[in-house]
């Protein structure tokens, strides 16, 4: 099979790409990487991603890492198929997708990552979550969500009145966040809540979410 994704079905970055692959209706093979055994930090994998991180995409002979580069590649290569995730026909719309992808990357992700990491990942490693870190990041995330609330009062989705990669890249971390005791940060903001319900109910994501079982008993 031409498209191979090396990753882990519960992992946030892997699931972003799985969602993109499903939005485009593409055939692919998911090659599991054994994170618990440190497979991603050892030589065979390091030759695919020298930073020792998942996911990695192989498209025939071509290898790519960094999840936002991978989804952009897939969205560009298959731009005529499925949802137009990059708005390739409109320079300004395409630019706005990149703006809100950067906002996710620079503002949303740093705060939400800390909360999800403390609440889900640390207990799996036998460690205790640090509530102080969670509290600091809840405050940061709240401020970011205030900006989102204002933005989503003017547009249906982040980059405009259209679903794009900018919205897609919020799905995985937010999905886990909604399983924490602090889901009210999303639910108490009506525009954000509507947007979240809309994007998380897309069939492509629902398919992927079935495998995202952190936090389930």
């Amino acid at each position: 099979m031409a498209l191979k994704l090396h990753g882990f079905p519960m992992s946030t970055c892997t699931t972003c790409i799985l969602t993109c692959l499903h939005e485009k209706g593409l055939d692919f093979e998911l090659v599991p990487v054994n994170l618990f055994a440190g497979e991603h930090k050892q030589p065979p994998f390091l030759s695919k991603n020298p930073f020792g991180q998942i996911p990695v995409l192989e498209d025939g002979e071509f290898t790519l890492f960094e999840s936002r580069a991978i989804t952009a590649y897939l969205a560009e290569k298959y731009k005529e198929t499925g949802c137009d995730l990059l708005r390739h026909n409109d320079l300004k719309e395409a630019a706005l997708v990149k703006v809100w992808l950067e906002v996710e990357s620079q503002h949303y992700y740093p705060a939400i990552y800390q909360i999800v990491h403390q609440f889900f990942a640390l207990p799996l490693q036998g460690k205790t979550a640090d509530q102080a870190i969670i509290d600091v990041n809840l405050e940061k995330l709240g401020k970011v969500l205030d900006v989102y609330e204002a933005r989503l009062g003017t547009t249906k989705c982040l980059a405009g009145d259209f679903y794009s990669l900018a919205d897609l890249h919020h799905l995985s971390y937010t999905y886990y966040f909604m399983k924490t005791p602090w889901a009210s940060l999303i639910n108490s903001r009506p525009n954000v809540k509507t947007w979240w319900e809309d994007i998380s109910s897309r069939p492509a994501f629902k398919k992927v979410a079935e495998g995202m079982t952190f936090g389930d008993n």
């Binding site: 020298p50 930073f51 071509f62 790519l64 890492f65 960094e66 999840s67 936002r68 580069a69 991978i70 952009a72 590649y73 560009e76 290569k77 320079l91 300004k92 395409a94 630019a95 706005l96 990149k98 703006v99 992808l101 950067e102 906002v103 990357s105 620079q106 503002h107 970011v144 900006v147 204002a150 933005r151």
Partner: protein
């Protein structure tokens, strides 16, 4: 109408945008924003950039923020003039994107934290966390090892040509080498050294440094 760049010429992220504009030979006007007085956090600026940060670019009535999104827009809009900063084929463009993401996620935070602890906080009369700075330095050693490996096989990060991926590193590496006393991270690595020598001597970057001085 000339593109407007809001932000002080001395600040890092506006320099990322200015470098791209100069490379592409695009006319622009800098509108100074007084960060020291907190101009960027005032209501009228927040209408331009809701996170209260620089730079912001106005291209006519089209407004953009986030420097890495802005440079992608400029490189795409002016694809036919100046050097090709995006890559030609689908795969080349993806590799440019990949190294831009590496800069944003594996590199920038470490440099920012190190510079904050060693330079910015002391300049503000506060104590920097030297242990944290040292940890960042050690992590940067490992990141630069990966860059050395990459640049021993390819002249620039994304391939044989200078692209946005290289451009995006200019301001951070300049800070490491010239301000933070971390030149050894570059000079101890043959391929990284040669690459830095090359990209930091580009006419466009020298012009940006002149504007900032």
């Amino acid at each position: 109408m000339v593109m407007k760049v809001y932000g002080p010429v001395r600040a890092a992220c506006p320099q990322r945008v200015l470098a791209c504009l100069v490379e592409k030979g695009v006319e622009f006007e800098v509108v100074h924003v007084d960060l020291d007085s907190g101009e960027q956090k005032r209501p009228d600026f927040l209408l331009r950039q809701p996170f209260g940060q620089v730079p912001v670019v106005e291209d006519g009535d089209f407004r953009l923020f986030e420097s890495r999104a802005i440079i992608r827009y400029i490189a795409a809009k002016y694809a036919e003039q100046g050097p090709d900063l995006l890559g030609k084929s689908l795969e080349e463009k993806a590799v440019v994107d990949q190294w831009l993401e590496v800069e944003a996620h594996n590199f920038n935070e470490l440099v920012y934290t190190l510079v904050l602890q060693l330079l910015i906080l002391p300049r503000m009369g506060e104590r920097g966390d030297l242990a944290l700075a040292h940890t960042c330095e050690q992590k940067l050693e490992k990141v630069f090892d990966v860059y050395e490996q990459r640049l021993s096989k390819s002249r620039y990060l994304a391939g044989d040509s200078f692209t946005l991926a290289d451009l995006s590193h200019l301001l951070a590496i300049r800070n490491l080498v010239k301000e933070a006393g971390m030149a050894h991270l570059v000079t101890e690595r043959k391929s990284v050294s040669a690459w830095w020598e090359d990209i930091s001597n580009r006419a466009a970057w020298k012009k940006v440094m002149e504007l900032a001085s």
